[in-house]
Amino acid sequence: MKNEKGVIIKVENINKTFKLPHEKNTSIKNIIINPLRKRTFERQQVLKNINIDIKKGEFFGIIGRNGSGKSTLLKLMAGIYSPDSGLIHINGNLTPFIELGVGFNPELTGRENVYLNGALLGFNRKEMKDMYDEIVEFEIVEFAEIKKFMDQKLKNYSSGMQVRLAFSIAIRVNTDILIIDEVLAVGDILFQEKCFQVFKNIKKSKTTVVFVSHDLNSLKEFCDRIAIIDRGKLVDIGDPSKMVMEYEALVAETEDVSHEEYDKHEEITKSRSRPGTGDYNIEKVEVINNDGKKAKHLLENESFTVRVYYRSNKNIPSFVCGISITDIDGVSLIGPNTKDSKFKLPGIKPQSEGYINAFFSTNLLSSGVYFITVGLFDSLVSKPLDYYEKAVKFKIIGGANHGKFNIEPKWSNHKTSR
């Protein structure tokens, strides 16, 4: 192993496949009766060629959709699963709690469960005694008044109390690396606030944390770096807010936005007749993102281009192109055209094609769904040649959605009274 300085978890070329039997053939009878029939498996590759270096003291986040393989990755790091190929080097003491309250038994008392769970998390007997005293005094527990329930069976606890108890044990683990999977999904707001407080302390203490969550805000707040995993592949690693944006883009791109209104609009668009003389036709309209690729989704503030493909059917000297961007309610937000911009579009000979680019270097649209309507007109803008209402839809993602535009004022505060 190359002992790179400061790397505490090194994941090298990890591959992991699960064998999913088609028909669970776990009885020996079947094997005896039918020994020659091969068991059929569905091989599902959960992780492909994952490489991650996590540095000492880092708060490292992992995001990905359900089934993307992030929990499998955590379990591999924790040593619960073994990889098909590749290596995982752990350079320290790792506390492998994937979930809170592992081993909690409803038939045991709170006290007994503290000891059992503590032992599972690697406390020795003496440490456990100290831990127990601490926990009883701990504010999360006091808050839920668990103290007087400690000698009651766990089954008589509310689920919130169980979570608090489990959490207060887990955070006392004295370890180099903590692995946390979706802790914040449980508990009420007050509990979550406590969790945040504890996270802040952990972050200060420079314990290495590997954290999986769907709560993008808390990921942004705590993580030093985030890795995006999608369909078993590592998509990107980097700065949290950038990664969160990229992740949102990824989700939006693949899971086609299922806005009800959105679909409704689309149906109307398809059935709508296209008014116009037909001298020129709009073939299609595309939104091109900052990277020069056709996109359905743009990031906030990302510059973009609207590309209008057209076809000439008749010889005319010149024409005008107009674009209107509307919001989901059909309210027009901007409506530039080539005539106002004094951009001349000469006519082309019939049966030939071309495209017009409209580059928007500034994009003030706030997150949401938008439509682009395109019209081609004669040089006087007296009659439409072709009018394509809601020709294309796109989505702006990332950031807060207050109003239609992102215009940040320069704030100042002045005292007027003495």
């Binding site: 492998p96 592992v102 032992a119 406390f123």
Partner: protein, 266 residues
């Protein structure tokens, strides 16, 4: 992997054993007393049936103790293997969520069985005291036979528990095998009941038969037949020991290989 004697593993082991014990007598009025009362009543019944009613072993001195010791040692083996068999599957919730050494679960079951054996031996001693039997000086060797059975049972348990993760039929098969083994081992009947010397020889290849007869020989009466008497070779005991070695080595290798995939196969 951490060493077995590390503080953490010791603490975990003791918690696992403790939990099993607490849960076993959960909700019963007499609680832990049952772990003594249960074998006591069982032995009383066996004593009445075999020693008083059928007078099976009237040729053997101290037959009741002889019988009890055999049953205690057999029960130890049976309890340990049967509980280990389902232990990995039963602790699936832990295995899927936390990396604890998997063998620790089997060790915790075996310690539980050892504790029960201790309690049962206490009951045996009560019977010894009641019957007024003189303890043999050779009794000091008894722990060796217990260790022998323990090692054998651990080997078998490792194989069974790992197999059970994949093949759930194992529990029924093992039940039948145990029943067969109980009668193939001279527990209820004295060895002299079998007249064919060759069959006796074969019976003694079973590590349990060899160990139980050996334990009786050192603890109850030196007239008990041992493997050495039957094979007419004082080194004959090496054959069952070799069988035990195969089980413990094979069990450890198989368990280690399979334990990597417990979490996903469960």
């Amino acid at each position: 992997m951490k060493h077995i004697y590390s503080k953490e593993n010791k603490a975990l082991l003791s918690e696992l054993v403790r939990t099993d014990f607490k849960l076993r007598y959960q909700g019963s009025v007499l609680g832990y007393a049952w772990s003594l009362l249960r074998p006591l009543f069982m032995f009383l019944i066996l004593y009445l049936v075999f020693a008083v009613l059928f007078k099976v072993g009237k040729t053997i001195p101290n037959y009741p103790i002889y019988l009890l010791l055999g049953i205690v040692l057999w029960t130890f083996f049976q309890e340990m293997t049967q509980q280990s068999l389902g232990a990995i599957v039963g602790r699936g919730d832990l295995i899927r969520k936390i990396m604890i050494p998997r063998w620790l679960i089997i060790v915790s079951v075996s310690i539980g069985a050892l504790i029960n054996l201790g309690l049962n031996l206490v009951v045996v001693m009560i019977f010894v005291a009641i019957s007024g039997m003189d303890l043999l000086r050779t009794s000091v060797w008894l722990p060796l036979y217990i260790i022998e059975i323990y090692v054998f049972a651990v080997g078998v348990s490792l194989i069974l528990s790992a197999l059970f993760v994949k093949y759930r039929d194992i529990s029924y098969i093992w039940e039948v095998l145990l029943q067969a083994g109980f009668y193939a081992t001279p527990i209820l009947y004295p060895m002299s009941l079998i007249s064919n010397i060759n069959i006796q020889k074969i019976i003694f290849l079973n590590p349990l038969a060899q160990a139980i007869q050996g334990a009786r020989n050192v603890f109850v009466t030196s007239s008990s037949t041992t493997i050495g008497n039957v094979w007419l070779n004082k080194f004959a005991f090496l054959i069952p020991l070799f069988i035990i070695f195969i089980f413990i080595a094979g069990g450890a290798i198989y368990f280690k290989k399979e334990s990597k995939y417990f979490a996903e196969n469960l």
